[in-house]
């Protein structure tokens, strides 16, 4: 097998191991909450076993050793020899974290520090009752004497069906011979005659004489994945072979646990904090459900049919076939649109992959803060673009931490306030219009409006005699940089860096975040995100000879200007009165320096847009059709342009710019603020 193939298989192993870890974590959390489902512990056990097996195949002996101890405890719990205690689940959960760290090391080809696993293994064994865990790798050093020998005779007789389970004896033999100088003999005596030979069966056996002082465990590790599919005998080579007693027992996945010792076992000290690991960004991949791929294939099939139909019409075209041609073209359009939607859907993943990290986080944090919290997730199957998903994780974590730390009160305070002792945090995701909405609600004490007000005044964000500001407006100050009202800085939050970063990150994704809160009843953060970053519904507008695209989501309405409603403030800033609201008018031709374009306001077209909570009316010449446009970046080959979020290619092959409404409003405001200063000198960078 070539190296690249092994690398590919390793990649699959790591992905599956990651999924296995998640399964284990979820299962353990459910156990922790008192679930009695026997299938649950089986699931956890299987996940651990798969990771162990895969580790064996690729020779990660430290991983095998570690998962083996987890497996032992899980097996004892499965068979009922061991009670499912909080202590055990906690130890296992921490082990899952450690295993994840080990896997990351293995994936990055960093050396694995097997010593770091020791405290975890000790703790697991302590719970299990270490002394009886006979052949366990963590066994007492007393075994060391016999486990170390001058060499080993290994007899490996795989069952015929070994290869059908995906195991490759070559890898195992190589693993063993890699331990030191070895002599391998192949036993071909079982190979049947040609006419009865089944090529999918394995008829070979191996005898390996390993002349190296390897530990017995290392040898067993190599067979970890096949120990139930082969007869394996490992005997030490000694000076007096006759004296060799019944040598090491065959490896068992599950050592005999001892119920008696269980209670006596003292928990080991929790291991030191794991060193932080930087997850190196590998090439990312997504798993796509087969339904989506099938849908795609269907549509491509239809597309091919449409294409051949159009080809037929084209062959000997006359005017009588015009109707057919038109039908064909409209079918082509439909196919193309469906194809586009299906392809986009491939990038869409359920948000559960983001949500799934929260049960664990909330559990750990609530212990740390000594609060009782019930986390409720809903809408996990809501689908979201992968890029958006990757970037929304951190802001969400921050908001959930905030709710836990600041929002929810301590149990005693809650009881005093007449609320149930256990607080609630809800995470909810759903579609609304062209957006994904994610809500984070808690039933805590709510935002301290007065404290925020004081702070805002002290920071000069609002004047002290301003009493007209609405509560919402005051609450919005918490998204300002350096704004924290926490009385004491905690480990988790309250350093004043945070909510402004949350808002910034969400805005960078083209979304928005708002907060609603009522005292004593709780706080709700609402995040709105675009479904995808690649495609947008746009309204085509004309200014002079130029065509621009306004994102449909930012348009409130379009209207014809009634000259009587136009007012000018200080003779310059023009505003339009729309239902008792004054909207600043932005003359696009002026802002963008376009020659031509409608200058007269009366009777002109005004597109009322909203961005970042601000309204503006864009004066345009004409409104064209609405269409979906694919967003292309300007930065790739040029740079960012104020008021423009990107470009797209229209049906006729020309390029049109997509307006960035919040940026445009800001740009227009800045412009009018320095209205006295002359326009940008056009050739300021030119030579000379």
């Amino acid at each position: 097998m070539s190296d690249s193939r092994i690398e590919q298989l390793k990649g699959i192993f790591f992905e599956e191991a990651e999924e296995g870890l998640e399964t284990m974590e979820q299962g353990l959390l459910e156990l922790d909450e008192g679930s009695k489902d026997p299938e649950l512990i089986n699931t956890i056990f299987r996940a651990a076993h798969s990771i162990k097996g895969g580790s064996g195949t690729f020779g990660f002996s430290e991983l095998i050793e570690f998962t083996h101890s987890m497996e032992s405890l899980l097996d004892a719990m499965r068979s009922g020899d061991k009670a499912i205690t909080t202590e055990a689940t906690s130890a296992l959960l921490e082990s899952v974290d450690h295993l994840r760290a080990l896997l990351t090391d293995a994936r990055n080809n960093d050396p694995i520090d097997s010593e770091s696993s020791r405290p975890y293994i000790d703790r697991l064994n302590a719970i299990l009752g270490a002394d009886d865990a006979a052949p366990s790798n963590a066994a007492a050093p007393a075994q060391d004497a016999s486990a170390r020998a001058a060499g080993w005779n290994i007899d490996f007789k795989p069952h015929p069906d070994l290869m059908q389970s995906g195991n490759d004896p070559y890898l195992i033999v190589r693993e063993i011979t890699g331990l030191g100088p070895a002599k391998t003999t192949v036993d071909v005596s079982n190979v049947p005659s040609w006419d009865v030979l089944d090529p999918e069966n394995l008829y070979l056996g191996w005898t390996i004489r390993l002349e190296a002082a390897a530990e017995e465990q290392q040898i067993h590790d190599a067979f970890a994945w096949v120990d139930d599919q082969a007869d394996i005998r490992v005997e030490p080579i000694e000076a007096k072979p006759v004296a060799a007693p019944e040598a090491a027992p065959a490896p068992e996945a599950a050592p005999e646990p001892s119920p008696k010792k269980a209670e006596a076992a003292a928990p080991a000290k929790p291991p030191a904090a794991p060193k932080p690991r930087s997850a190196k960004a590998g090439s990312s991949s997504i798993r796509v459900s087969i339904d989506k791929v099938d849908a795609l294939i269907n549509i491509v099939g239809e597309l091919v049919i449409t294409q051949s139909m159009l080809g037929q019409i084209e062959k000997d075209f006359d005017m009588s076939k015009l109707e057919k041609l038109r039908d064909g073209l409209s079918q082509l359009e439909r196919n193309t649109r469906e194809l586009q939607e299906s392809v986009m859907r491939i990038r869409m993943l359920p948000i559960s992959s983001v949500f799934s990290r929260f049960p664990r986080m909330v559990r750990d944090l609530s212990r740390q803060l000594e609060k009782k919290v019930h986390l409720e997730l809903s809408g996990e199957s809501t689908e979201l673009d992968k890029t958006v998903m990757e970037k929304i994780g951190d802001p969400l974590v921050h908001l959930v931490r905030n709710s836990l730390d600041h929002g929810l009160e301590a149990p005693a305070d809650r009881l005093e306030a007449g609320k149930p002792e256990t607080g609630r945090i809800e995470l909810n995701a759903f579609h609304q219009g062209g957006n994904i909405v994610i809500e984070i609600c808690d039933d805590g004490r709510g935002l301290p409006t007065d404290r925020i007000r004081e702070k805002a005044i002290s920071k000069g964000l609002m004047s002290a005699d301003d009493t007209s500001s609405s509560t919402e407006k005051i609450h919005d100050f918490i998204f300002h940089p350096g704004f924290s009202t926490a009385k004491e800085v905690s480990d988790l939050s309250g350093r004043g860096v945070g909510l402004d970063v949350v808002r910034k990150n969400i805005r960078a994704l083209g979304g928005s975040v708002e907060v609603q809160s009522s005292p004593g009843e709780g706080t709700k953060f609402t995040i709105r995100l675009p479904l995808t970053l690649a495609i947008l519904d746009g309204q085509l507008i004309n200014v002079g000879d130029e065509t621009y695209i306004v994102p449909l989501v930012s348009i409130i309405e379009s209207l014809q200007i009634d000259g009587k409603q136009v007012n000018a403030i200080a003779g310059k800033a023009e505003v339009y009165r729309l239902r008792e609201q004054y909207i600043p008018i932005v003359r696009l031709y002026d802002l963008f320096g376009i020659e031509g374009g409608e200058r007269k306001l009366d009777g002109g077209l005004l597109v009322v847009v909203e961005g970042d909570g601000q309204h503006a009316g864009l004066l345009v010449d004409d409104l064209q059709n609405q269409q979906q446009v694919v967003i292309k970046s300007l930065d790739t080959n040029y740079r960012r342009v104020d008021g423009v979020s990107g470009a797209t290619i229209l049906g006729d092959g020309t390029v049109a710019l997509i307006l960035d409404i919040p940026g445009l409003i800001k740009f227009a405001n800045d412009r009018s603020r320095r209205a006295e200063t002359p326009r940008l000198p056009q050739d300021k960078f030119a030579l000379n």
């Binding site: 970046s633 342009v641 020309t654 710019l657 050739d683 960078f685 030119a686 030579l687 000379n688």
Partner: protein, 160 residues
């Protein structure tokens, strides 16, 4: 095609005409040469940036080299072409187009032929010129496109 003695070459130059002068760029940087077609103007950019075009799905900015060098503007004619170039700046490479009067020739370049540009006494900046070369009594100005197309409004750092 006199100069095309590949064996002696250290590199090849594509030359083009701009207000009667012949300029050269490294031919390996040339992605393609296309006829002038209208570009979409980008608001609030210097006039020498003609706009952006669609190059098979990629958005590519177009620079008018006459205006970049403050030469007189002329109407675009049938020989006006856009030379699409790969511009390297640091670790990134970008695709840009330059509008020139006409393409001229391809010459071999050897470093001995390349003379440093004299100081023009302030009338023209020599910083974008890699050197001068003479081929058959004709002077060719060899441009440093990486520097030229990373300056001013085109600089990568401008993406603030």
């Amino acid at each position: 095609m006199d100069g095309l003695d590949v064996n002696a070459a250290e590199g090849q130059l594509l030359t083009f005409l701009l207000a009667g002068e012949e300029y050269g760029v490294d031919i390996l940087r040339v992605q393609e040469i296309r006829g002038w077609d209208s570009a979409t103007r980008v608001p609030n950019t210097p006039r020498y940036i003609k706009g952006i075009i669609n190059l098979r799905g990629t958005i590519v900015p177009i620079v008018d080299l006459r205006e970049r060098f403050n030469l007189d503007r002329v109407d675009y004619g049938p020989t006006t072409v856009v030379i699409v170039l790969k511009v390297v700046s640091g670790e990134t490479s970008r695709i840009m187009g330059i509008v020139v009067d006409a393409v001229s020739d391809v010459y071999n370049l050897s470093s001995e032929q390349l003379r440093p540009a004299p100081d023009f006494g302030g009338s023209i900046d020599t910083e974008f010129i890699e050197g001068l070369m003479t081929v058959e009594e004709q002077m060719i100005i060899v441009l440093d496109i990486d520097h030229l197309l990373n300056s001013g409004d085109l600089a990568v750092a401008a993406a603030a």
